[in-house]
Symmetry: C2
Subunit: 403 residues, 2 copies
């Protein structure tokens, strides 16, 4: 167990304040291997043998996984203790983690605030020291946004490098299972186990920036953190995307709605009340979209993917803020631009690591991310490590510091 | 003008037998530049200033282009004489070139047989020596299939490397404007002018083959030509695709139907009789496809694109037959597997060059293609040149040999 962690006997009590875990097994045993010291929580849309596999959906409240997803099996095989499943946005569509059936998860940096989503339970549990690491899933930013809002580290791996078996899919082209951790050492150790073709010898030499940050309005602390990061990294080139980030993100949302409406077709047909009215509404966007608009969405996603592949050669990384804002009160509506930066890595299938880049004036974390070429997961993480040392922006939430 | 060309005074007569050109300007003048010796025909879905811009669609029969498409302007700027527009499959959807409004184009190797499509006029005109080169467009194989059936050379460039302005689009993610020619010298000269980032110094060292040819049934002569090519090239690796080629091609067709139904939405709404009943039927496949199936199609296309990008690094090319069969009688129905091989380059946005690989026992040409990494257009063409020298399979159609 790493420093600053909650004692296992106190997990239940600590979790009550946060509602990060929806199922908790403090007595889970460790095995042997490189992760033998770690406790790991798993987002509730990933199958953990013998635990509820809800994906945050009421209609799946009683579904129990019979087998571990390969990603979970790999962690267990490497010695990790799998101590429970974590709250999330219903069906992983959205980025607040105020679940209509399983309740809101709190941000350990400020109770009453969102931890981000859709892997909000994963972000909160790791930041609060309830577990050393967690698995999340990232369709448009759902690993990286909660990592950013909770002030920790997260990796969205290269598309296809972590098996999607045992994952309640949103859109198979966009989805990646990825780890969150309180340090890059732990993130790296988990990534070694999870990511196919993870290659420690990779190096990132070139940094690309998004021209004018794609016009996305960022909060001052986000901008300052980003500027500190660009100062630390330098920049070798800038990239202009062929479409507005808000339009790109909307095209990604449409594909998510389309994909998820397919995955949940049975439930929509036989047990629609198993889904919230809000989610059912979100699931109409994809299917009701006209052929012309869908073709245009597809064009946009393809052009953006090509532009990113072209600008991000092996050995190069794109540096951007992770989210345009810090965490906000659960009572507020989520800002529309929340996933404008993060969605790019999903659309292009590229790996991305998020690290803390600073704090707002009133003490909430903000973050930057590096996006690398396909298969450059380890290189991006190594470059993030250098940048993290320069920024030294990580801070444990005061609420749970025990060391 | 290169060897074996029809004299300009005889163009009209020669064209009557083939119905390759739908509009012909034998007196078009040349300019100065690297293409000053060449006459070039342009597929009727690409705008040529002052000529009909029909895209093979009755509803556009009276539409005249006011400006050259940038691809045409570039050829003209390099000195080429643009001598007319070429027949094509209606709206570029299909691969026979038996146009319901503008008639069937004949294969110069055998009258009564299809030249392939959708750029059938381009293939026939070049093979017969009506022009030195032609522009076609390739959405699922529409440059390469007619080049193969007509025994000539063709390039589908990297996605995005030739402007789509002035092109009647099918699906912007799949479409590429590309040249056809009777020799690789002429193909290369045109590609230099047309393709952004064309880099003569590129080299292809590695050859990948499709494991078991993806299970696609090929005619004996196609298989023999492919075997001769693999013997000449060697093979460094094999690639197994994550889906059946027929399923992949169908997903591409759905996106083509979806995209084209968008492009033709106005005509469908205001002048449906401007389209054939057969085309209107094909345009229902995309829009009527359920959300679930569309999401699955998208998954397949993404997975295949990723697999191809992963297997075809810069300096590597995938060697395959171009089409599984030689040309067939116009009276026959087109084989379903016609575009099974060609569609892969479109789906992944990669460059591909087709060259003749032999002849059937009864004298019809067959072909192989090389598919390279994005931006490796010149490298693929250089490798095709070596292979072409080894195979020496190009033969002019007897009908028009005048040298």
């Amino acid at each position: 167990m790493t420093d600053g962690m909650i004692n296992r006997d106190d997990l239940d009590a600590a979790n009550t304040a946060l509602n990060a875990f929806t199922e908790l097994d403090p007595d889970a045993t460790s095995g042997e291997g490189p992760l033998a010291d770690l406790t790991i929580g798993v987002k509730a849309n990933i199958a953990v043998r013998g635990m509820k596999w809800t994906a945050g959906i009421e209609g799946f409240a009683d579904r129990t996984a019979e087998q571990d997803a390969p990603a979970v099996a790999a962690l267990r095989e490497a010695g990790a203790a799998i101590i429970g499943t974590l709250n999330m946005e219903e069906a992983a569509l959205g980025a607040k983690t105020d679940n209509p059936f399983f309740g809101a998860t709190q941000n350990p940096h400020r109770i009453g605030y969102t931890p981000g989503g859709s892997s909000g339970g994963s972000g909160a549990a790791v930041a609060a020291g309830l577990c050393d690491a967690a698995l999340g899933t990232d369709t448009m930013g759902s690993v990286r946004i909660p990592a950013a809002y909770c002030g920790i580290y997260g990796l969205k791996p290269t598309r296809g490098s972590v098996s999607q078996e045992g994952l309640e899919i949103v859109d198979p082209s966009l989805d990646s299972i990825g780890p969150l951790a309180q340090s890059l050492d732990v993130l790296d150790a988990c990534s070694q186990v999870l990511v196919d073709g993870y290659d420690d010898s990779q190096v990132i030499d070139n940094i690309v920036l998004l021209d004018g940050l794609g016009g996305v309005e960022c909060e001052p602390a986000v901008r300052e953190g980003y500027e500190a990061a660009t100062t630390a990294c330098g920049a070798d080139a800038t990239l202009s995307l062929p479409h507005d980030l808000s339009r790109i993100r909307f095209a990604g949302f449409i594909m998510s709605s389309l994909g998820l409406s397919r995955e949940l077709a049975d439930m929509l047909a036989t047990n629609p009340d198993g889904l919230s009215e809000q989610l059912r509404h979100l699931l109409t966007y994809g299917p009701k979209r006209g052929a012309g608009d869908l073709a245009e969405d597809r064009r946009i996603l393809t052009e953006v993917s090509d532009a990113l592949h072209s600008a991000i050669a092996p050995g190069t990384a794109l540096l951007m803020p992770t989210a345009p804002q810090a965490a906000f009160p659960h009572a507020d509506r989520a800002p529309a631009n929340q996933a404008d930066f993060t969605c790019l890595a999903n659309i292009a299938g590229l790996p991305s690591v998020t690290i803390p880049s600073g704090m707002t004036a009133d003490g909430l974390p903000v973050a930057v991310q590096l996006v690398g070429a396909a298969g450059n997961d380890a290189g991006v993480l190594a470059r993030a490590r250098e940048l993290d040392a320069a920024l030294a922006a990580f801070r444990r939430p005061e609420l749970f510091v025990e060391t």
